[in-house]
């Protein structure tokens, strides 16, 4: 089985390539990259006017499987992933039961093997049952396929527990992913604290709730020498804390979501529950800081925090609505806006989806060097299309971008040398 992709603009940040090159995939691996490759392939794709990139990687998704399959499952979540151009997703452990033991990790892996459309890398929890108290069996979990540890959805409130997690995970070379918020400062807040919350009469979540916890976690990383990855960074203060820590050589990495670099708290007006997330949408200054952080390398990856919720969980009063939005199918066009807005160039944007996340977790993908897995995304950077929530591949339709006209989309997603998804002409 071989695929030849011709005439595309090949952007492979891991190998510093941005050139019009052909790409040959064979037997599930990258076989060759070069000018005007003339070989017989089983299939030839003309990528004229298109981008050819390593398969996109999403460091942060919630597949909801096991336990909440009414929101999403491994089949539907990975189908949404390939529709959005992703060939690898990293799934969070706040499932039911929690992925805090080898059985659940193995389930996710075997189920992905069975019905998954793309690669799935499970993250196991830091503490048993996400309770923030006792560490999970990280060694066994890492050997069994977990790529990192996180209590995502909840912070590890106890500093001692976080310290020990970093110390314990370090020899296993597993990053700790921090969902950083000081819950005592969050209180009953439901949106960013500030003028908009004041106007809407909604309880606010102050930026200091995130900054304070990011500061603690960065210092714990510095103290222990462990690798701390900050999930869904959203405030200018937190970005600045990470920037300074990186300058000092602390092993800290971080990710930002498309909604945090696209929207602000203004989106909450009208009490749109699809603008309710955690961390909350912040101010314009925060959005700007996140965009700058993505451009200058402070932020290592774009991650969607794909959080599917059933309609019934969003179609309620704002203060009791679930947090989060689906993101897999909108991330790429929203990121392309950063390029059009001249926040960054195309190779940097591609890096944030490929080499960036691969480096954070040490994944063996995100590169088009010969011998690498044949995960490739073909992108039409220019096509205009209008998002209709009901047409999302994901089981859940909770997106604030319904009705938006977007530009750019993945047209072909290749996982392990096989075409996993192709965009219909009509869209």
């Amino acid at each position: 089985m071989s695929i030849l992709i011709k005439n595309g603009r090949l952007i492979d940040p891991a190998n510093n390539i941005d050139d019009h090159l052909d790409l040959l995939l064979k037997d599930g691996l990258v076989a060759a990259v070069g000018k005007n490759l003339s070989v017989d392939a089983d299939e030839t794709l003309d990528a004229d006017g298109k981008l050819v990139t390593p398969g996109l990687i999403d460091l942060h998704v919630h597949l909801r499987d096991p336990g909440q399959e009414y929101k999403e499952d491994i089949a539907s979540g990975t189908a949404a992933a390939v529709a959005g151009g992703f060939t690898s997703v990293v799934c969070m452990p706040n499932t039911q039961p929690v992925n805090d033991n080898l059985a659940v990790t193995k389930y996710i892996l075997s189920r992905s093997e069975e019905v998954g459309r793309c690669r799935v890398f499970p993250v196991a929890s830091i503490t048993r049952g996400l309770k923030g108290e006792n560490l999970t069996e990280m060694g066994e979990l890492k050997q069994g396929g977990a790529v990192a540890f996180s209590d995502d959805g909840r912070p590890v409130e106890n500093g001692e527990v976080m310290r020990r997690a970093l110390e314990y995970a370090r020899p296993f070379d597993a990053p700790i992913i921090s969902h950083a918020e000081d819950l005592s400062l969050v209180g009953k807040g439901v949106m960013n604290d500030g003028f908009v919350a004041t106007e809407l009469g909604l309880k606010g979540i102050p930026w200091v709730a995130e900054d304070a916890m990011v500061a603690r976690d960065v210092m714990l990383a510095e103290y222990t020498g462990g690798h701390m990855h900050i999930a869904h960074i959203s405030t200018r203060g937190a970005v600045e804390i990470v920037r300074r820590a990186k300058e000092r050589g602390v092993r800290v990495t971080c990710e930002a979501t498309p909604h945090h670099f696209t929207l602000t708290e203004e989106a909450v007006r009208g009490y749109d529950t699809n603008a309710k997330m955690n961390p909350p949408l912040r101010t314009e200054a925060d959005r700007e800081a996140v965009r700058r952080g993505l451009a200058d390398g402070t932020i290592d990856a774009i991650a969607t925090d794909h959080a599917p919720h059933h309609r019934d969980e969003k179609n309620v009063e704002f203060n009791i609505a679930c947090n989060g939005i689906v993101g897999l199918e909108t991330a790429l066009p929203l990121a392309l806006r950063l390029v059009r807005d001249k926040v960054m160039d195309l190779p940097r944007m591609v890096a944030l989806f490929t080499s960036g996340p691969a480096d954070v977790l040490g994944l063996d993908c995100g590169s088009l060097a010969a011998g690498q897995p044949a995960d490739v995304t073909l992108i039409d950077p220019d096509c205009e299309w209008t998002l209709t929530a009901d047409q999302l591949v994901s089981k859940s339709k909770n997106t604030p971008f319904d009705g938006w006209t977007l530009q750019g989309a993945a047209i072909t997603t290749i996982v392990g040398g096989k075409i996993a998804w192709q965009r219909a002409e009509q869209q």
Partner: protein, 311 residues
């Protein structure tokens, strides 16, 4: 000429002209409340449902009387007796009620934005009787009505609003309403009870009650939630009363003819001293009386209003 709004969700959406149209209409209705036969047939055959998810005596009664004096059939549904306790969603509760074809739903809900949520989903008119810490439009309108009645006009008046601004829907609605009609609003409250950015809505913010009250034409005290004391927002009621309570001494800083207002229910001796609450400057019961006329006006305008624009 119709009222330009299908719903009354908040003052934020009302123009100065809308506000005066409501006040003028209320003035027309006020006379009915002093007649022997306190009833006009204006809304005969209309059904108004008072859907209250939060306890309320004053506002609910006021809306109920307003509806009845207009000859509407008014039905009260309170959360404790409704299906909400059975876990029904707000939308389902409201749709069930709507299936009985009310013309107007007057609703109070603890969640900010709940009336907006229903307004998007139901066909009938929604009148917000208080949503979370967001808005309480009928209260602000009756406050304006009372001030205008006593002072003759609203423009240029200095109005102090004192207390727990952060959690007060009365404060927000009054702030919108007063600034829109040209009054000058000063807010005062403890550092923990003044929400961020409120000055952007056009108010002066003080933390010393004296600065807010000085030369004021109106002093509006807010109710302090007693359960907030002794926690992080407020050390004690004693301390609150000492720094933010209205008493005969600090009231002297206001203009001699200043009005003392309170949306009720009052905590005597906490935010307002009894001597002031019962003193010659208080118009607290006028507020209650005018509340009926103002709510009659709101119901009338909404009932007749084929919306010419979305509110």
């Amino acid at each position: 000429m119709s009222f330009g709004h299908k719903h009354i969700l908040g003052i934020e959406h009302l123009s100065r002209e809308d506000i005066f149209q409501i006040l003028d209409t209320a003035a027309g209705f006020k006379e009915i409340n002093t007649r022997a036969i306190k009833k006009v047939p204006t809304l005969r055959g209309r059904t108004i449902i008072n859907l209250f998810f939060e306890a309320s005596t004053r506002t609910r009664t006021s809306f109920e009387i307003a509806g009845k004096r207009l000859s509407a059939d008014t039905v009260n549904i309170s959360a404790s007796s409704s299906s909400v306790v059975k876990g029904e969603t707000l939308e389902d509760t409201a749709r069930n009620i709507e299936a009985m074809h009310p013309d107007i739903i007057v609703m109070r809900h603890g969640a900010s934005g709940a009336p907006h949520y229903l307004a998007e989903r139901l066909d009938c008119a929604i009148v917000n009787a208080g949503d979370g810490a967001h808005e309480h439009p009928s209260q602000a309108l009756l406050d304006l009505f009372t001030i205008r009645e006593k002072k003759g006009s609203l423009e240029g008046l200095k109005v102090a609003i004192v207390g727990d601004i952060a959690h007060s829907r009365v404060a927000r609605s009054n702030l919108y309403a007063l600034t829109r009609v040209g009054a000058e609003v000063r807010l005062a409250g403890p550092g923990t009870m003044v929400p961020p950015g409120i000055e952007k809505l056009g108010a002066e913010v003080h933390h010393d009650i004296n600065d807010a009250i000085r030369d004021a034409d109106v002093v509006m005290m807010l109710r302090i939630q007693l359960e907030r004391q002794g926690k992080t927002l407020l050390p004690s009621l004693r301390e609150f009363s000492r720094f933010y309570g209205l008493n005969q001494d600090n009231l002297k800083l206001a203009r001699p003819d200043a009005l003392v207002m309170h949306p009720g229910p009052m905590n005597r001796g906490v935010e307002i001293a009894s001597s002031v609450a019962d003193g010659p400057q208080n118009v607290i019961l006028d507020q209650v009386e005018n509340g009926v006329a103002v709510r009659m006006a709101l119901l009338y305008l909404v009932a007749g209003g084929e919306a010419t624009e979305e509110s």
